[in-house]
Structure formats: structure tokens, C-alpha cells
């Protein structure tokens, strides 16, 4: 009943979507993570206005679907303000924004988990606020943020399929087209799922290993 043989010949067509899927994922993850750090710091900082701005950013991108950001960026921006970004920029940008919101919360969790005493000790030594953050606090958050960051990356990889709504030929778009052509959506989507599995599984293993290793360094037995 599940006739994988009927679609297996189309497998290479799906594989052609892998570089684009991986590209969108990596670019939006890296950009989102870099942006997330100042947002997280701004959220923690008790500076009036700045924290609220950061919170607004986080909540906006947490509560509205990235699909909308993509459609807006791709279809509305050219019409409304005359800016015509290319498809990759739109998708990577939209996903980077929602990633930055998620990663900011992860960073915030990590930073607030570092005991106050660490800030105090480094302040008394004369380190500037940025030096405290960079040399003392951030290295200690690593073990807390690595695993959830990996999870974000895993979700992002799957979310990159949103690029399909603007016809970018990544894995999922290719899958739907194949499904329409062959009328075998279950078989095609099974292949699609398999590719996603192969892409994400190493990340999941990595995340588990990182979690184990980084907590080891802090145990004294």
C-alpha cells in the first residue's frame, strides 16, 4: 500500500532542495543568534525604555507567525514601500527575527542563572560591565544554553520549509510539487521526512552530547 518504489526515482529531485534548506537554516540561525544577545542583555538591563523595547521585540516575534512575516516581506514590501528584497533574504530575515526572539529568551535564562556573586566578584575586581559579561558570565552560560540552542536549530531546520510559500525550491516545496505530479503524497512526504530526519538526527545527538559534557565539567565527582 505504501509504494515507496513508485517515488524513489524522484528522490534526487528532493535532495536538490537540501542545500537551500540548510542554507536558509544556517543563515537565519547565525544572524538570529548574533542579534539575540544584545536583545537578551537589553531585556535584563533595568534601563527604562530599552528593556521594554526588547520585550516588545521578543513578544511580537513570539506571538505572530513567521509565515506572515515572509508574505509581508515578499509581497507587501515591494508594493507598499517599493523595497524588493530577494526571496532568500526575506525568508532568512523572517526566520532570523523569530529565532532572535527565541534565542534571546534562552540567553536570558542562561544569564540570569549565573549567580549574582559572579557579577559582584568581577565588579569588585574592576572589570567593566561588558568585560564582566564577556569574560565571566557568558562562558558560564554556555552549558545552559547549548542544548536549548540545538533544539532551536532543529525546529528552525523544519521551519525553513516555510520558504515553500514563496516557491523557493527547498525540500518541502519540491515534495509538494512531486506529490501533485505523482499523486503519491504519503510516499513523497515519507521521503521528505526521511531527509529531515537525516539532517536533524546528528543535531539531536550533538545536543545530547553537549548537554552531558558541559554539565560534567561543573561536577566535582
Amino acid at each position: 500500500m505504501l509504494r515507496l518504489d513508485a517515488v524513489i526515482g524522484d528522490f534526487p529531485t528532493l535532495l536538490l532542495g537540501v542545500p537551500l534548506t540548510v542554507g536558509i537554516t544556517l543563515v537565519s540561525f547565525i544572524v538570529g543568534t548574533v542579534v539575540a544577545l544584545p536583545i537578551a542583555v537589553a531585556r535584563i538591563a533595568q534601563v527604562p525604555g530599552v528593556s521594554q523595547l526588547a520585550l516588545g521585540w521578543i513578544e511580537f516575534f513570539r506571538t505572530t507567525p513567521p509565515l506572515m512575516h515572509i508574505v509581508w516581506g515578499y509581497y507587501a514590501l515591494p508594493v507598499v514601500v517599493g523595497i524588493k528584497l530577494d526571496a532568500f533574504t526575506v525568508v532568512a530575515g523572517a526566520l532570523a527575527c523569530s529565532t532572535s526572539a527565541q534565542m534571546a529568551e534562552i540567553f536570558r535564562g542562561g544569564i540570569t542563572a549565573v549567580p549574582r556573586g559572579q557579577w559582584d566578584a568581577s565588579q569588585v575586581l574592576g572589570l567593566s560591565p561588558l568585560q564582566r559579561l564577556w569574560w565571566v558570565v557568558l562562558p558560564q552560560t554556555l552549558r545552559l544554553v547549548l542544548a536549548p540552542s540545538c533544539n532551536t536549530l532543529v525546529s528552525l531546520l523544519k521551519q525553513s520549509s516555510l520558504a515553500a510559500v514563496i516557491a523557493m525550491p527547498e525540500i518541502m516545496n519540491r515534495g509538494w510539487i512531486l506529490a501533485s505530479e505523482t499523486f503519491r503524497p504519503i510516499e513523497v512526504l515519507t521521503l521528505v521526512a526521511f531527509i529531515y530526519f537525516v539532517l536533524t538526527w546528528p543535531l539531536v545527538l550533538l545536543s545530547a552530547a553537549l548537554e552531558r559534557r558541559s554539565s560534567l565539567a561543573f561536577r566535582n565527582d
Partner: protein
């Protein structure tokens, strides 16, 4: 205002509040160069807060704190002071050691010590490590230079924390219950290190419950309660004939744990 012109540390009428709770209530205290002041008092009386204000980890509402005559912290409810701007003295004139050590867990002992000299003073790695090693030797930890803090006993961690604070060459050292998180048989080694510092003439403010240390090392013992300084006197006087009833009551309670034997120590 009390005359604190020539004192190294001068705390003048400091008021510190958290919201509506007054934690330091018009506290004035001065310490001369080379003096050791031991601060005692019940839990919550404001001892830690006083040290934290000196280290500029807190802001204050009223009064001011000067080091060597220069105001380093002023009450934010007071009118803005003319003259020396806050921070005229480098923040690292004051070194502080905490009850919970607060070593940086991701760095080795030597890296803990060299971080601030390198990043703040801009020392070269070689110079900083040389300085670090000489300090480690002085606290008897040269063989632990490359260990991470978790691999050290509590006493060793605390000595490393002292070395870290000293690496910035502070003129004043603050100690906040530095032995109370330690196993009793490890307390001695840390107290010995502190004794050594006092002998070398370091100006020190020490919050501690170690009455033996207070008796032997302190020039003055300061008793705090409810955010105020109740009494200040040399140890020989405060332990034998405290002026205030509150001081006597506190010291008695400290000894109560010794049981009904009435033994003094």
C-alpha cells in the same frame, strides 16, 4: 560631620534603603591605614550591606563614603557634591572576598587571578602570571595553578579567592564571613592567611563569627544591630565588659550553642 579627614576609609552618615526598608541607618565608621576592624552582629543587621557599599556594589541614599579623602560614593538623595568626581580613585582600591568564594568556575585558579590584572590593568600575560604565581605561593597554592575551582577543597578555594583579590593590589581588603561556608577543620588555613595579611599591614574590614580571630587580630570590634553601629571598642574591652546590653546579649547567644555547661571560650 565627624572628623574623618585623614582616615583611609571614612563612612559618613550613610543611609541605605531597599524600597521602604532601611538597612543602614545613619552609619558612620572610619578605619585608619593598617587597621583591622572586625564587624559582628546578628543576621540581617546590615554587615554585608555595609561592606558591599564600600565595594561600590550598592548605591546609597544618603551620606558618603571616602577613601583616602576622596569621595567614592555619595547618597543619591543628597544634593550633588561639587569637587572630586566619584571614581577618582580606581574601583580596585578595594578588594573583597565573599562567603561563597565566587571563583569563576570556567577558569583555572591562575586564570582566575590573572583575568583582572590583564583586562583591567592591561598587564601582559607573562607579567600577570608571574604576579599570580607569587600570590599563589604566598597562600600556599602554587601546585593548584592549573586546577579548576571545583577540584579544590573549600579552604583552598577561599585562599585562591583571596589571592585573586590581592592581584589588583588593593589598599583595603573586605572579608564577608569568608570562613562560614567551610568545613570546620579547613577554617584554620584561611584564618592563617588573613592573619598573615594583617601582619603585613593591610587595612582590613572583616565580618566574621570567629571570635578567636577577632580577639587576636582586630584593632577594633564593631557591633552592628538593626542597621546601626551599636558599639565599637578594642576586643579586650568588648568581650569582657561590653558597654551595651545588646552587645552582651548577642555574645551570650553566640556562646549558648556551647550548651548548658557555661564554659566560656
Amino acid at each position: 560631620m565627624t572628623n574623618t579627614q585623614h582616615k583611609l576609609v571614612a563612612i559618613d552618615h550613610v543611609v541605605k534603603r531597599y524600597g521602604s526598608v532601611t538597612v543602614l541607618d545613619d552609619v558612620s565608621l572610619s578605619v585608619d591605614t593598617g587597621q583591622v576592624a572586625v564587624i559582628i552582629g546578628p543576621s540581617g543587621s546590615g554587615k554585608s550591606t555595609l561592606l558591599r557599599c564600600l565595594a561600590r556594589l550598592e548605591n546609597i541614599q544618603q551620606g558618603r563614603i571616602s577613601i583616602d579623602g576622596a569621595v567614592v560614593l555619595a547618597g543619591d538623595e543628597d544634593a550633588k557634591q561639587p569637587g572630586a568626581p566619584a571614581g577618582a580613585h580606581a574601583a580596585y582600591d578595594v578588594g573583597m572576598v565573599f562567603q561563597s568564594f565566587n571563583l569563576f568556575p570556567h577558569l583555572t585558579v591562575l586564570e582566575n587571578i590573572t583575568l583582572a590584572p590583564r583586562r583591567v590593568r592591561g598587564m601582559s600575560r607573562t607579567d600577570a602570571e608571574e604576579l599570580g604565581m607569587s600570590l599563589l605561593r604566598s597562600v600556599g597554592l602554587e601546585d593548584k595553578r592549573d586546577s579548576h575551582p571545583v577540584r579544590l577543597s573549600g579552604g583552598q578555594q577561599q585562599r585562591a579567592a583571596i589571592a585573586r583579590a590581592l592581584a589588583m593590589r588593593p589598599r583595603i581588603m573586605l572579608f564577608d564571613e569568608v570562613t562560614s561556608a567551610l568545613d570546620p577543620e579547613l577554617v584554620g588555613e584561611v584564618l592563617k592567611t588573613m592573619r598573615g595579611l594583617a601582619d603585613q599591614g593591610m587595612t582590613m574590614l572583616v565580618v566574621t563569627h570567629e571570635m578567636g580571630f577577632a580577639r587576636d587580630v582586630a584593632d577594633d570590634v564593631v557591633f552592628m544591630d538593626h542597621g546601626s553601629i551599636v558599639e565599637r571598642a578594642p576586643p579586650s574591652i568588648i568581650f569582657s565588659e561590653p558597654r551595651e546590653a545588646r552587645t552582651r546579649l548577642f555574645l551570650e547567644r553566640l556562646l549558648e550553642r556551647e550548651g548548658g555547661t557555661g564554659r566560656t571560650r
